[in-house]
């Protein structure tokens, strides 16, 4: 495992009116590790993802990507072009088009698939080869997450679990270096959960850094190397899965006074 950080979140704060959704959160995400963020509902986990991906501008702090790129203040598409993909807790698919088209759109921005508008108008050879290569790869991604059989179904018609997997496939085709998954296992049945764990392990082998938000501790200890606990917008604890399970403060936050 390398020691340099893929993402350095430094003292990030977010205010919603009077509410401190994030309060001086500092997290270093090391290259090659699968980091998991846990915490009760409303702890600020999704808000942190929104800051990393440019959907929110933190009121303080900085987020440094790959040691040199400052992410705060950039637009989401710029951050995505840096090789960061994020899934949404409540899903963000192109619901009225087919599954494979969803994945195709994901890959459209990759340099090896890009052609000019005149290539499109005159259907040049370049256009045709790139389009079929892209389509091939899109189907490959659907096979990887195990829903290739549904490639021609509209995204909106898929089951909840399949839609989550589709969102993952659409991200993988962008060739991300950092993958942020917001509660990927929520709403999945046990079989789908097992498949997701396998998929994430395979993703990790491809040297893609994974950060995920999750509640299910069994799921978490299965894949995470490092756990960060958020509570009321603050970092409550961080450590190895086994240590976190025994941590008093964490147990209290989850089972205690609320």
């Amino acid at each position: 495992m390398e020691n340099s950080a893929i993402l350095s979140i430094d003292n990030v704060g977010v205010m919603f009116g009077g509410l401190k959704a994030l309060d001086g959160v500092t997290i270093d995400i090391k290259k090659g590790e699968v980091l998991c963020i846990i915490g009760p509902n409303g702890a600020g986990k999704t808000t942190l993802f929104n800051c990393i991906t440019g959907f929110l501008k933190p009121s303080s702090g900085s987020i440094l990507y790959d040691g040199s790129v400052e992410l705060t203040g950039r637009r989401p598409y710029e951050i995505a072009s840096q090789g960061i993909y994020r899934s949404f807790q409540n899903l963000a698919l192109f619901a009225n088009i087919s599954a494979v088209e969803n994945v195709l759109i994901g890959g459209s921005k990759r340099a090896e698939f890009s052609y000019g508008i005149t290539d499109a108008i005159f259907r040049t050879k370049k256009f045709l080869t790139m389009e079929s290569a892209l389509r091939q790869e899109a189907i490959g991604m659907l096979e990887f997450v195990g829903i290739a059989g549904k490639k021609d179904n509209k995204a909106g018609e898929l089951s909840y679990g399949e839609r989550k997997l589709l969102e993952l496939a659409r991200g993988l085709i962008t060739k991300p270096k950092l993958l942020l998954l917001d509660e990927p296992a929520a709403g999945l049945n046990p079989t789908e959960k097992t498949e997701l764990v396998l998929a994430i392990k395979k993703i990790r082998e491809q040297k893609i850094n994974v950060v995920l938000i999750e509640h299910d501790m069994r799921f978490v200890s299965d894949i995470a190397n490092w756990i960060v606990v958020l509570d009321y917008g603050k970092k409550l604890a961080e450590g190895l899965p086994d240590d976190i399970k025994k941590n008093k403060a964490v147990i209290e936050a989850y089972l205690g006074t609320r």
Partner: protein, 372 residues
């Protein structure tokens, strides 16, 4: 399917709008005409539902935009339409030919506006301004500077594109009502400027003696030759638009219409795509304007009023947004129908307003473009 729910959906889709339009138009139009209006709208709804709105699509294996081939039924429909457009004018009198030339002009406009409304789901209520800018560009360039038709053609499109940036850049973050109001204001401002900048536009009197286009070997002066000239432009436009639609540029638009957050997350610069679509849409409007000015040989601000924008928008919506064949059908219907039912012409505006309101009430997803 149980019966009550299907009855309820028919009631909601057809009977309610019918009764509603009838009730609204009764005090203004009287009994007979209100029935007429209601039936007209019902027919529109039926056409829309049966032929234009896409049924839940079962994709054939191997489907992708880039490789889609038309079904044989679809292809023969296109060939038939093209053959009719080429042969029919030979048998038409001057008046009918004018009507059909008008269909072509409105087709160019509706196809251009469809890029925004249908493909991206952005409402533009001032689209006619680009038509006006194109027309005046040619009028001014040809009468004041002696620049020819074919060079003005490109310039008209480019000037309209440039003007579209004025509206695109500040409104990129706006949606729905706000965008509608801003574009409406833009259209009005352009018309008012044309009306008042006497030294350049000759104000309300307009510009006369605009030359007709010519090719080295043919004079394009007769009605039928002009019809074929515009037809060529429409065909080129359809060709370009359908190719763009079935490429990744078309996919970007679908993505943005479907889910803007997700589009940004797969690295699509949504502002840039919207700006390009605004420019392309304006370009086609501008080119149509140049053609229009050269046909009329005269332009005045009266041709570019707000109601014209609404007219074009109604064609896009009636025809089925985002669907090239549907938009052409919409343009055809809304130009030819009033000519067939001449007594309706007075109520044109009212009917369009009703149509738009009905669509928004009963097909709200249609207007925001929730279709593939």
């Amino acid at each position: 399917m149980n019966l009550p729910s299907s009855i309820r959906s028919i009631l909601k889709a057809y009977i309610l709008p019918l009764v509603w339009i009838f009730a609204v138009s009764l005090p203004i139009m009287g009994m007979v005409r209100s029935i007429f209006a209601a039936v007209f709208v019902l027919a529109g709804l039926l056409v829309f539902n049966l032929f234009i709105r896409k049924k839940p699509r079962v994709n054939k294996p191997g489907f992708s935009w880039a490789h889609t081939r038309l079904s044989s039924a679809g292809r023969s429909a296109w060939i038939f339409a093209l053959a009719a457009a080429i042969i029919l004018p030979l048998f038409l009198n001057g008046y009918s030919l004018d009507v059909f030339t008008s269909v072509l002009f409105y087709s160019m406009l509706a196809l251009g506006l469809n890029l925004l409304v249908g493909d991206l789901g952005l409402l533009n209520l001032g689209y006619i301004a680009f038509y006006g800018i194109g027309a005046y560009t040619y009028a001014i360039l040809s009468t004041k500077f002696g620049i020819g038709f074919w060079s003005s053609m490109m310039l008209g499109g480019i000037v309209a594109s440039a003007f579209s940036l004025i509206i695109a850049i500040p409104t990129l973050r706006l949606k729905g009502d706000y965008l509608a109001i801003t574009t409406l204001g833009f259209g009005e401002i352009i018309r008012i400027v044309l009306n008042n900048w006497d030294s350049l536009t000759n104000g309300p009197n307009g510009i006369m003696n605009i030359p007709r286009p010519s090719l080295p070997w043919i004079q394009l002066s007769t009605g039928i030759r002009f019809f074929y000239l515009v037809l060529c432009f429409v065909i080129i436009q359809i060709y370009i638009l359908s190719r763009i639609k079935r490429s990744m540029f078309g996919r970007y638009a679908v993505a943005i219409r479907e889910n803007e957050r997700a589009s940004e997350m797969v690295a699509i610069n949504t502002y840039k795509v919207k700006t390009l679509y605004f420019m392309l849409s304006a370009f086609f409007g501008g080119v149509a304007g140049v053609l229009f000015a050269s046909k009329q040989m005269f332009v005045s601000p009266d041709s570019f009023t707000f109601i014209e924008s609404v007219y074009v928008l109604a064609m896009v919506i009636l025809g089925g947004m985002g669907n090239i064949a549907g938009v052409l059908l919409g343009a055809f219907t809304l130009v030819v129908l009033p000519e067939l039912l001449r007594e309706f012409v007075i109520y044109r505006m009212l009917i369009f307003a009703l149509l738009l309101i009905t669509m928004m009430l009963f097909k709200p997803n249609g207007l925001l473009g929730k279709k593939a």
